[in-house]
Amino acid sequence: MEHLTDLSRVKEPLGKANGLPNAHYIDPAVFAEECDALLFGQWAGLAVAADVPEAGDAKPITFMGMPLLLLRDRNDKVRVFQNTCRHRGMILVEKPRKIEGAIRCPYHSWCYSTEGKLVSTPHVGGPGQNTHRDVDRATLGLTEIRSHIWRDVVWVNVDGQAPEFEMAMKPVMERWAEFERPLFHGGADSKFVLSVKSNWKLAVENYCESYHLPWVHPGLNSYSRLEDHYNIEEYGAYSGQGTLVYRQLVGDNGAKFADFDDLDAKWDTAAEYLSVYPNVLLGMHRDHAFAIVLVPNGPEETEENIHLYYATPETDAELRAKNTEQWKVVFEEDIFVVEGMQRGRHGVNFDGGRFSPVMDGPTHCFHDWVAGKVIERRAISNAAE
């Protein structure tokens, strides 16, 4: 079978490789192929648990065209369901809201508990008769999507075939094991959304390398120079960058955020930024963290959902706002880059590009992962034919 793209050059070693072909950024057919191979077939970031802070909170999310429902059930467990009634396939929840009791389908009023159980099938056996021997409610609960929460990110494995989360994410969980501490979302002033006209992978790629910092983030570079950064490359798992000169934010009144407990002294001045494949970008510092969940809305549109976290539930509001603003400036500075690279990929003679053998390892690491997963998926498809 002829494949949509030739990935052989991508799998070459860093110094010889080309980047992913244009089609991986602009072609709807490749986007669909990657949806199965990279997002539905892996543990992908969907949202954060802080999006549904209280029992009964429900938030519908369209993920790769699939209607999902993020919900905190009555027992405080965060769950993800397909947002589709088991009767006629109607969308159940249209906008974020509190579920007081059951989820009632607006079409024929079939009702589901927040745990996904089908609890009412009104008139299913005729007017006023709410049962029928052929309708077994026990088999008609909401379709639950496999999910796991780590670092407050709600990760989903839509096809249900990925290894257990702790197994799949073992390398990155081990790297940051000492940061397994309670995280407290900063609240309404500590989240923002950026919509970019770019394929989601370009946001991953730009985030994981430090090569661009002096050119795109001159303000950052005034104290965190290129030579103070190091590459992080864990082939098959994640990549990113670290800095050796992190400086804590200080408020006008001299206030600083509290540190996470019991960190190694190296974190006094170090910080790391990881692209956790496929679509979650994490930042970790001695006194705060952030998570960026990339939600693709098409081959050339991505929503970046940014959330900031702290070591303590209470933090200085002024300092928190200052920190949010500081990161917002940095992430906004990246928009012209990811959108420019996206437009550049409509140049039909672009060959995926070549990498700096020294500076672009983290990006190559991601391309290698993408190519590997797509090739695996193609092999499965071929075997099935």
Partner: protein
């Protein structure tokens, strides 16, 4: 009491599920025929489920008693 179309429409318009529950419950209680009563009780039960209304166990028991609910 009979079910007032206007009350019902108002409650639907306002998305007032607690009110819908009590309106349909009252209609069930005052129905002359068991089929009509179960029809109204079915609606009352659905809205009771939706808003976690305190009448929910009572309405469910009524429907179960008449073989209309599990």
């Amino acid at each position: 009491m009979t079910l007032s179309d206007q009350d019902l429409l108002n409650a639907h318009e306002e998305g007032d599920t607690a009110r819908l529950c009590t309106l349909y419950h009252q209609a069930a209680l005052t129905s002359d025929h068991i089929h009509a009563a179960c029809f109204y009780a079915t609606h009352a039960y659905v809205f009771a489920l939706e808003c976690d209304h305190p009448l929910r166990p009572e309405i469910r028991a009524f429907l179960v008693q008449h073989g209309r609910e599990e």
